[in-house]
């Protein structure tokens, strides 16, 4: 049986005091506890960034990937052992910038992985440059005159590209965030949770106050399967920020549709002795049929 203590290793987090990462970290550990997952039931794949540093603050099967590459690592793991729950802990620069192409295609296939994005709208670990989700005009060390591009909308991207679970949370509301992370962990298929996470050191625009003035929670009447409604919610021109599960549908996962996996997890499938592959050789054989059969 797992509890928060099992998941915690003696190192203290290195995040800045007040960082939104603490809230996400607490929510993930609590959600794993709620799911009642033992250590053999899940693996966490971390990207590189302040978010990925969570690697060292959770003791479980873990893979600390490269910047941007957590998703393809996770997809490979899920294909090799689809009985494992595969969770990705990534950041906005990590997942929407460096790894944007991987995100697009993992969603397209509805690969059964669960992605928690720490979206602080800034590159924290490299001291505060603009990120793919920074607002237009955002001034940073890399964009002193203000960023020219408009931000990526990860939620509308996810809804239109095939994610079967799309949600948004706020690192300043841990109670709500725990319910969202738990829902992510329960979902079968590609699930993405964008967590709005203030960076208290570098982002002086998207602060706790900024978010508290704009967020609202979707109520029970919200129809999770209504794609058009979901899209209109995430493209609110009034700049209200929705929290909650925005879109959720059931559809077959990539792994459901991979026919080889129907025989059980790849990692547990039998490996034949090399000499049992004579049938494969036969395809290339030009040996005259009768003598080939005689040779056995």
């Amino acid at each position: 049986m797992i509890d928060n203590v099992n998941l915690y290793q003696p190192r203290s987090p290195t995040w800045c005091p007040g960082c939104g990462d603490y809230g996400i970290w607490a929510s993930l550990k609590n959600a794993i506890k709620i799911m009642n997952w033992d250590l053999d039931k899940f693996v966490i794949v971390y990207g590189v960034g302040c978010s990925g540093n969570m690697t060292d603050f959770i003791m479980s099967h873990g893979f600390h990937s490269l910047h941007g590459r957590a998703l393809p690592n996770a997809e490979g793991i899920k294909i090799a052992n689809h009985m494992l729950n595969v969770v990705c802990v990534v950041g906005d620069g990590d997942c929407y910038g460096e790894g944007g192409n991987h995100l697009l295609h993992a969603m397209r296939g509805n690969s059964d992985i669960k992605v928690l994005v720490h979206d602080n709208r800034v590159y924290g670990l490299t001291t505060g440059q603009t990120s793919p989700t920074s607002p237009h005009g955002y001034k940073s060390k890399s964009t002193p005159l203000g960023v020219i591009e408009y931000p990526v909308n990860p939620l509308s991207l996810a809804i239109t590209q095939g994610a079967s679970f799309v949600a948004q949370g706020f690192a300043g509301d841990i109670t709500h965030l725990i319910t969202l992370v738990t829902a992510v962990l329960k979902h079968r298929g590609f699930a993405i949770l964008n967590v709005l996470q203030p960076c208290v050191t570098f982002n002086k625009v998207n602060t706790y106050t900024f978010y508290r003035e704009r967020i609202y929670k979707l109520d029970d009447k919200h129809d999770l399967r209504d794609r058009e409604k979901a899209l209109s919610i995430v493209s609110d021109p009034g700049h209200k920020i929705p929290l909650g599960i925005i879109y959720q549908v059931e559809r077959p996962t990539y792994q459901d549709q991979e026919i080889v996996l129907q025989q059980g997890p790849l990692v547990k499938q039998i490996i034949k002795n090399p000499s049992e592959h004579a049938d494969l050789l036969a395809e290339f054989s030009e040996v005259e049929k009768e003598s080939y059969h005689m040779a056995g």
Binding site: R11, M59, G76, L266, N273
Partner: protein, 579 residues
């Protein structure tokens, strides 16, 4: 006996399949073959040429001049008219274009008019079946047994049913009958059925795929890129039946990272790519290096950099694959010289990758990957699988105090897999301690780097000696690696057959990184004269040998125009050095 059969024309005629069918026909008549294909990076309209060299003794490489040319268009004649032996035969369809003997200034050729289009129509066959008319005609010209082609047709179209088989067979018969009743004058070469075939025909890339499945590969991932795509096609066609998940990922970065993920989770994983795709994978190679995740990569070389010459051959990526990635970590590079070595080295690559927990690169190229070889059917009996030091699933709850990156004498730690009840660890792209926690402590850094490096020292004691062909006390020692093996072996054979008086031997390297230094030193330090032959412009292997042994080469034969070496050019160089 040595005959080269060649067919050329526009892409779209089915030249590739026609050429391979002729290889099969020849082997089923009891001969040996080597075939070689040239084509541009186009789907339609470009010039394709397929040549099959046939012999009653082993044949290792293509030759410059052909005995038979089936010219499907005028361009084929223009491009290949100087590559014909005296007395060779050129088959054309005069209704499509005309040539005369003045078009062949280089020598006497026999022109033969085959009404290919008309014959195809006359038996009610479709235009796509013209290739069988051509093959039937070829077989009559060489006095071969048409029943062999009919059998091949019925095998190829077995799933399409009787009607398709009959139509194609009729087309073949029409070509055969036409030539039988209009025999070419003065063409004397024949390929009568000699004996029952005991061989297989396989291309290098297919042999790599066969090796991967035989080695228990469970996950294969790739992104299309010549000359590696035919490996992906082989794996995709055979994956389901053999329990291999085959994934065409969105890009090469994803390819290597998916492979790393699957291997970390416990299955043997492989990817296929070309030099250009490997360029994108370099970051991931480092991830496999520092997380010590076993990985088998087939990298097919072609001329570059950037897009280069996609459908041609090269040996220009040797230094690149050995040195790719920032900083240092161990890896092994194997370079097969033919399809047989491609098969056995692929099985070996999986064992080495698992045993040392490192990336192993199988470095091929267009020449070895897409050429077909006739070979004795591979013997699987002595193959074994070695997964190295791992926590087995049976012991997943019995492990105490597990440390994934534990310092060990041979440098090799014990692997465990996510999903195990105990043996928890972090596979970490950051430098780490023995558990896997990120660490920037000097002691952890030095300990881990030294341990990882030690794996290669352990491996170096086991590298097999390179093969030496020919006599030991030679006047000249030829050195080549990977796919250059074939042309060199053919040159040696041709020199022997012409009773060349000087002694020449050949050292072939398949284990190109790390090099088998002690053996290489002992052979090369005693060699009277040395010639390095390789497919790049800066003699990368010669530099590598000098780096590792201090030995230098006085003579070099380099080629980097995208074409393979020809035995004839090697012979000229040998004679020049020994004159």
């Amino acid at each position: 006996m040595n005959i080269t059969w060649k067919i050329g024309g526009e892409a779209g005629f089915g030249i590739m399949s026609t050429g391979l069918m002729f290889s099969k026909i020849a082997v089923r008549h009891g001969y040996n073959i080597f075939d070689y294909v040239e084509y541009p990076s186009l789907i339609r309209g470009g010039h394709n040429v397929y040549e099959v060299r046939v012999s009653d003794s082993p044949v290792y490489a293509q030759e410059k001049k052909a005995d038979f040319l089936f010219a499907l268009n005028r361009e084929t004649v223009d491009l290949h008219k100087n590559e014909l032996k005296d007395g060779s035969i050129v088959v054309i369809d005069r209704e499509k274009f005309d040539v005369n003997s003045a078009d062949f200034p280089d020598g006497k050729v026999i022109l033969y008019d085959l009404p290919l289009g008309k014959l195809t129509l006359s038996v009610g066959a479709d235009k796509v079946m013209e290739n069988n008319v051509a093959l039937g005609a070829t077989m009559a010209i060489f006095k071969m047994d048409l029943a062999v082609l009919i059998t091949i047709i019925s095998e190829i179209f077995a799933k399409k049913g009787e009607e398709v088989i009959n139509k194609n067979s009729k087309a073949a018969q029409a070509g055969f009958d036409y030539v039988t009743s209009h025999p070419p004058k003065n063409f004397l070469l024949t390929l009568p059925k000699k004996k029952a075939s005991t061989q297989m025909i396989i291309a290098g890339n297919e042999a790599v795929g066969l090796g991967a499945i035989t080695a228990g590969c469970k996950f294969f991932v790739a992104y299309p890129m010549t000359p590696s795509s035919s490996l992906m096609h082989f794996m995709a066609a055979h994956g389901q039946k053999n329990g291999v998940v085959v994934k065409h990922a969105e890009d090469e970065i994803s390819v290597i990272n998916m492979a790393i993920g699957a291997s970390y989770a416990g299955v043997r994983s492989m990817l296929g790519t070309a030099g250009g795709g490997f360029s994108l994978m370099v970051e991931g190679l480092g991830l496999a290096g520092i997380t010590e995740t076993p990985l088998v990569l087939m990298v097919g070389q072609r001329p570059g950099p950037a897009t280069g010459m996609p459908t041609w051959t090269s040996q220009g990526d040797l230094h690149f694959v050995i040195n790719a990635s920032q900083d240092e970590f161990p890896r092994i590079v194997l370079a097969p010289g033919d399809a047989e070595e491609a098969f056995f080295l692929t099985v070996e690559a999986f064992n080495l990758a698992d045993y040392y927990q490192i990336p192993v690169i199988i470095l091929t190229d267009k020449y070895v990957g897409e050429s077909h070889f006739s070979l004795k059917v591979f013997n699987l009996d002595n193959l074994f699988l070695n997964r190295g030091k791992i926590v087995s699933w049976e012991d997943e709850d019995k492990v105490e105090g597990y440390l994934r990156y534990k310092i060990t004498d041979d440098g090799i730690p014990v692997r465990a897999f996510p999903g195990m009840k105990k043996a928890i660890f972090t596979a970490n792209s950051y430098e780490h301690d023995e558990y896997g926690w990120s660490s920037e402590e000097a002691k952890d850094r030095v300990g881990q780097v030294e341990r990882r490096n030690k794996k290669l020292e352990t491996y170096k004691k086991t590298i097999p000696d390179p093969k030496i062909y020919g006599e030991s006390d030679a006047d000249l020692t030829l050195v080549a690696w990977g796919s250059t093996k074939g042309p060199v072996l053919q040159a040696l054979k041709d020199l022997r057959e012409e009773n060349y008086p000087k002694k020449v031997n050949f050292l072939h390297l398949t284990h190109v990184w790390p090099l088998p230094v002690p053996h290489l030193e002992s052979i090369l330090s005693k060699a009277k004269k040395k010639l390095i032959i390789e497919g790049n412009s800066t003699s990368q292997m010669a530099s590598l040998i000098r780096q590792e042994t201090g030995i230098t080469f006085d003579h070099k034969l380099l080629r980097f125009d995208g074409r393979p070496f020809y035995p004839e050019d090697i012979i000229i160089k040998v004679k020049e050095i020994l004159s």
